[in-house]
Symmetry: C2
Subunit: 390 residues, 2 copies
């Protein structure tokens, strides 16, 4: 009851007690009692009389104005931190360059210093909770990274507990894809969608699964790890040690590798120039080349999108989701990639499952992750164990 | 509340009011009030004092002894009907040969006559509800088959409403794969598993998805339609009009087709003899040949299992389920198929997702579908709209 009431206020904004009773399908008496308790707990506040609906005026209820959540999103080469209010509106953010390979002490130290700065700037002493995302597999229940391939030194490090100790508030740790999916659900294109997939195509590839409004983690917490689905028995070697993984064909690192081969092979003067200039190519360089109309770069993007579409077609036939949101660094190459993904996914899935299936690019920037991380912890703060009974 | 209380009694058996309060995490007062109401409604009964736990004795509560549900499972060439009590124990069943291509009037007529016989035999006047399954896509909310490929004459036929009129009780219609999955959940190997896939390999191939204890139908109701996932760009033609579908490689019809080619090509004397004898071969004939150690038949099963495993590996990496149950007619070929499916699925999925993933054969026979159909409607009967508030 408490959790559902607070989630309504978080997601729908201030509501009158009468509206809360309607939306939660309980009596006004129950709402009044529950609101009283939440005001005492410092989680909610009464906010004046509601507009008249005829009869006695109801009272408006809002989340307490001083609730603050922290969101921390750690990436391979940079990190974002932010502070939100109880409704997850972002009040301030910081973005820093930071190499994750420096290990947890250094990276978390930098993140927490940035959080402290933002909190001080906002005059916040005690945030109510913090969510933190890392770019690798996580044991959600233990709050530690598990054998993360691109995070040397982080395996088993007690990230959740270390951050919780420093900030003095409850903390939850999840992988970046799940947190981005939660962000889309709260503030992005998937806002009104109960069942959707968020596909991140960055250096690696992963998928967040939202089913009936809830993130689905699978029985071992590794649901959505689609980057290592084998799409070809005879594909390139993957960072995971296998061959033919989707990520080894279509991830940002794969795109950079293939672009380098194209440049060296003399098939794209534009990419060759960039390679000579910078010493290495990135997925973003392929995006630049595509904007210049470079035929080889367009071909690379098409091939990448085709493989992603092939996997998504299978997932669509299997799960029949209501939307697919594409995000992550490689979306810098944007519409060329999206067009190919759409073509293959629609062409290969069942007509019934794709009849009304939007496949769209994420419109959230760095803030999407911060909001997702804040929402992750807000769900837990708003639903303390003692009230799980409803 | 009502729904959760009745579902506890259905799945756990008679419980004392004290146990109900514990399991539902509500007060004993609430349980007592709710039980009183359910007794009045004829859904529950008090069943004497509970064993003492020290202090005042609690009262045992059970489902009303006269609750009866009907389960009807229509297949391509036969149908099963059965009647269960409130806890879904099967009291009697009938199985008839019946060609689904005779159309809904004939087939439903035969099914309902059989139901009436069983009800009369058991002395049941008014069943509380009936579940019915058909081997094709269904619009669950409208209760009609939708363009079912092997069911000429059934498209859009109001199956649910027709059966409801005849039996005078609420009815739900679903596809056979979903109903079999629900049966596994209630009475099969997946009984204690909250997240699993039920894969039916019969004439066609389909998948029931159970997530957090609930069947997942997808946003258009077509989740689990894995038979038409394209596993090869250059595969055989499928009944659906596309090429390279999983079903066109590995379904029972595909197996029969390939066995016929093997027999005609003179590569299996055993299959050639069967073909000459019967004029046609079936998937069951391949099973016979495998039992005889026929190398070509073993090869066919391996190839079939390999393709199924290839798709399952993708689904396992994606959804990280807790169990996969294999059922349907082709499981007559049993352990050879299972071994191949296991080998490919375990070999190609992520180690974390398969570390503790059982892939097992269904142990339920025809009764599995009857129990599943009865459970489908029981959920709806036990949760009338009026009580959806909790």
């Amino acid at each position: 009851m408490q959790a559902r009431l607070l989630a309504r206020l978080r997601d729908d904004g201030p509501l009158s007690k009468a509206q809360l009773a309607d939306r939660l399908q309980v009596s006004r008496t129950t709402v009044a009692a529950e609101v009283g308790r939440l005001v005492e707990l410092g989680l909610a506040q009464e906010a004046g009389p509601a507009a008249s609906r005829g009869g006695r005026r109801s009272t408006m209820v809002d989340l307490a104005g001083d609730i603050r959540f922290v969101g921390i999103v750690i990436g391979a080469t940079g990190l974002s931190v932010g502070v939100t209010d109880g409704r997850l509106a972002v009040l301030a953010t910081r973005h820093l360059a930071c190499d994750i390979r420096q290990g947890p002490e250094v990276v978390l130290g930098a993140a927490l210093a940035a959080v402290r700065e933002v909190l001080d700037e906002l005059g916040v002493d005690h945030p109510m909770g913090a969510g933190i995302a890392v770019p690798g597999p996580v044991d959600f229940h233990r709050g530690v990274p598990v054998a993360p391939p691109i995070m040397p030194g982080w395996d088993g490090y007690p990230v959740r507990d270390a951050v919780s100790r420093t900030l003095g508030c409850p903390v939850l740790l999840d992988n970046d894809v799940n947190v981005l999916a939660i962000g889309e659900q709260h503030a992005g294109v998937a806002r009104s969608v109960r069942d959707f997939l968020f596909v991140k195509i960055g250096t690696g590839i992963g998928c967040g699964i939202v089913i009936d409004g809830e993130l689905y983690r699978g029985v071992d917490g590794c649901a959505g790890d689609i980057g290592h689905i084998r799409v070809d028995d005879f594909g390139p070697a993957c960072a995971c040690g296998n061959t033919g993984c989707l990520e080894a064909f279509s991830g940002g690192a794969a795109l950079a590798r293939d672009a380098t081969a194209v440049a060296r092979g003399g098939r794209s003067p534009f990419l060759a120039d960039l390679l000579e200039e910078n010493g290495a190519l990135t997925a973003a360089d392929v995006g630049l080349a595509v904007q210049r109309g470079d035929a080889q770069a367009v071909q690379l993007i098409r091939e990448s999108g085709r493989r992603v579409g092939q996997v998504l077609a299978t997932l669509v036939s299997f799960l029949n989701p209501g939307m697919i949101v594409i995000g992550g660094g490689v979306t810098g190459v944007g519409h060329a990639l999206l067009a190919e993904i759409r073509g293959v996914t629609y062409g290969r899935s069942l007509p019934l499952a794709t009849g009304s299936l939007p496949i769209v690019l994420s419109e959230l920037g760095d803030e999407g992750g911060v909001v997702g991380a804040a929402r992750l912890i807000s769900g837990s703060v708003y639903a303390p164990l003692a009230s799980r009974r409803d």
